[in-house]
């Protein structure tokens, strides 16, 4: 059986159990770590996250993917300690995006003119986080990244968004680790951009597809037909920009009825703890305790629920994608 890169090292994909592929453990809006009025108390953060992960496990959860990438709060040593303490498998991600989240090193480098980074440099940066290990900045590398996560600006693709998607796809194709794209203003074109870099569609997960504009545009079904994974990733959210849970269930039922159950993943985009910006304070366990019963009430078979929550994520996260 293929293995998945977790923060504690490779784990057989069959051991993950119920897996949420788009969550965030500690979220830090870049720069917030330097704010005069923000104190990040590591002991408090640990306790808070440990409680949430333990609840998730008690509800039947097995693995959490921190899909926030390499620059928005990722703290590998904290995540390793949490994985050890709670028994929840934690997969951390490399990648960055969208453009507005990047540091000046990538956008206005000390060259004349200050040309932003091209795709090949992002491919190298992300690829090394898989091959050599994820960075603790200026210090050391730890375990291999299990996902390459990027995002496109919701209002429309910025030049460096394109380089990020292409770089992530190249790194994914080279290393066998899946790519996650939080979609912008044209999910189909964004997936095609990744595919153009030699990344097989089935190794790409497209997220934010339960955003209203995404659902209204019919992107979820189109993405599924193209062979990529549709991530319905705002379960439990009350954010008006996203479908509510009833609408979300209708979308999932439609996709299943169209034969796409193997292409669906569910997640909640929760932030365990958030600094610098209000978090999405949904418990990781809520998907299992509230949403799954709603799916069953809507007539979704247990086997389909299991597939979306267990075997689909295991297949996606398997390095090289051999598992199923």
């Amino acid at each position: 059986m293929a293995s998945v890169n977790t923060v504690l090292g490779p784990v057989d994909a069959g051991r993950l159990g119920v897996t949420l592929v788009r969550e965030s453990l500690m979220y830090v809006l870049p720069g917030a770590q330097y704010a005069y009025d923000i104190r990040i108390d590591r002991a408090d953060v640990f306790d808070l996250l440990a409680v949430k992960l333990t609840e998730f496990k008690a509800a039947g959860g097995g693995a959490i993917v921190d899909a926030a990438g390499m620059f928005e709060g990722r703290d590998l040593r904290l995540y390793e300690a949490l994985a050890r303490a709670t028994g929840v498998h934690i997969v951390a991600s490399t990648g960055q995006g969208p453009e507005a989240m990047l540091g000046g090193y990538f956008l206005t480098p000390q060259t004349n003119p200050p040309t932003p980074w091209p795709a090949e440099r992002f491919a190298d940066l992300f690829g090394r986080e898989v091959i050599e290990g994820m960075v603790v900045p200026r210090f050391e590398r730890r375990a291999a990244a299990g996902l390459i996560a990027t995002a496109v600006t919701v209002d429309g693709m910025k030049p460096t968004d394109g380089s990020l998607v292409r770089g992530a796809a190249r790194a994914g194709a080279a290393t066998g680790v899946p790519v996650f794209i939080s979609c912008g203003s044209d999910a189909v074109a964004e997936l095609e951009l990744a595919a153009g870099e030699g990344m097989r569609a089935e190794r790409v997960a497209v997220g934010d597809l339960d955003r209203r504009d995404a659902a209204d545009s019919g992107w979820p079904a189109q993405i599924a037909r193209m062979g990529a994974t549709v991530v319905i990733d705002h379960v439990g959210s009350a954010d008006p920009r996203y479908l509510n849970d009833a609408e979300r269930i209708a979308l999932i039922v439609e996709l299943i009825n169209d034969g796409h159950v193997a292409r669906i993943l569910l997640s909640s985009s929760a932030t365990g703890v958030s600094y610098g910006v209000p978090g999405n304070d949904v418990p990781y366990s809520k998907l299992l305790t509230s949403f799954v019963p709603m799916l069953r009430n809507a007539g979704v078979a247990d086997a389909c629920v299991q597939q979306m929550l267990v075997s689909n994520p295991a297949a996606l996260l398997s390095v090289g994608g051999q598992s199923q």
Binding site: P30, A32, A35, Y105
Partner: protein, 324 residues
């Protein structure tokens, strides 16, 4: 009574001695910490840095002491605890910055912040301290983003700096003296005397023809000849380099026209750069090894040299709150 904030505490301006007004222990663009190509071990960092500071301390002995103003902004690898250890072990006074080198070095948290919040950030770092280091910033850094035009975020930072300067009395350092008109307008509107502002890098190669020296001088502002040593005669000069004789002639023009009170000089060297290769062989000690001999050769007397590096600097760095 004069007060200057150094990383080891507040001291009298009379203790500063010889001041290198614009230097860097180590500067890197935000995000460069993710790229392991630039990483150095702590052993290497100290090895590259300590001898330069010790030499600077030795050179400055005739002036009583050596002061190194570190103009590294909040998101550029500023590391105040490290500066404290360097200062304690080498005897060099180190003055740290609050503020940003330019809008394009302010990470998303600060990019989204209001003028009021940014002002509170700067005031806190000057009057209470930076993070939990206990060290207070002694200057406020602002700057023009790449492209030689002030962007909206640059202007927001200048306005916040003006307010913070009035409250705390800390002087303002600009990165680049180009496009000074909007800056002068902001300082005017905020009621900050422009003598509290050093318009930096007015001497670099790429800014020539773009600096309205007359406008800055007319308002009482100070002109920074603070990239001494980035000479085009170097084997691999940076893009902002300039012919050594041309820069010297430019500077002598000011000294010989009664403007010595409005200039400050420095080398803008990195002891150990963080996210770029740096310029080999260029150190703060250029001031003693090349510049001062060049000035003497040009007939500049010791009193003038002392005025630039001791009295002007002390006057400028002295905290001067303005009650409104």
């Amino acid at each position: 009574m004069t007060r200057v904030n150094t990383v080891l505490g507040t001291i009298s301006a009379a203790e500063l001695g010889f001041v290198a007004i614009h230097e860097h222990i180590g500067y890197g663009m935000p995000g460069c910490e993710l790229d392991s190509k630039w990483w150095k071990s702590p052993e290497q960092r100290y090895e590259e840095t300590v001898p330069k500071l010790r030499k600077f301390h030795e050179y400055a002995k005739p002036y009583g002491a050596a002061t190194f103003v570190d103009a590294t902004g909040i998101c550029n690898g500023r590391d105040v605890d490290y500066y404290k250890s360097l200062s304690a072990k080498t005897g060099v006074h180190i003055v740290a910055s609050t503020g940003f080198v330019g809008g394009d070095t302010a990470l998303p948290f600060f990019e989204r912040a209001s003028v009021d919040y940014l002002a509170r950030q700067f005031i806190h770092e000057v009057s209470v301290g930076i993070g939990d280091s206990g060290a207070k910033a002694g200057i406020i850094k602002v700057g023009v983003s790449r492209g030689f035009r002030m962007k909206e975020l640059d202007k927001r930072i200048y306005r916040a700096a003006a307010r913070a300067s009035k409250v705390t009395g800390a002087p303002i350092f600009t990165h680049l003296a180009v496009d000074c008109e909007p800056a002068l307008t902001i300082f005017d509107e905020e009621g900050l005397p422009v003598k509290r502002v050093l318009f930096g890098h007015a001497d670099d190669g790429v800014s020539q023809g773009k600096v309205n020296e007359k406008a800055i001088l007319g308002k009482g502002g100070r002109i920074g000849f603070d990239t001494f040593g980035y000479d085009l005669e170097l084997p691999d000069p940076p893009f902002w380099g300039r012919h050594r004789s041309e820069r010297l002639k430019h500077f002598l023009g000011f000294l010989n026209h009664g403007l010595v009170g409005q200039v400050l000089a420095s080398a803008d060297a990195n002891c150990s750069p963080l996210g770029w290769p740096g310029v080999k062989g260029h150190t703060v000690n250029y001031l003693f090894e090349r510049l001062i001999p060049d000035l003497r050769d040009a007939g500049i007397d010791e009193a003038t040299i002392e005025q630039i590096f001791v009295r002007n600097a002390a006057e400028f760095l002295t905290l001067q709150p303005i009650s409104s």
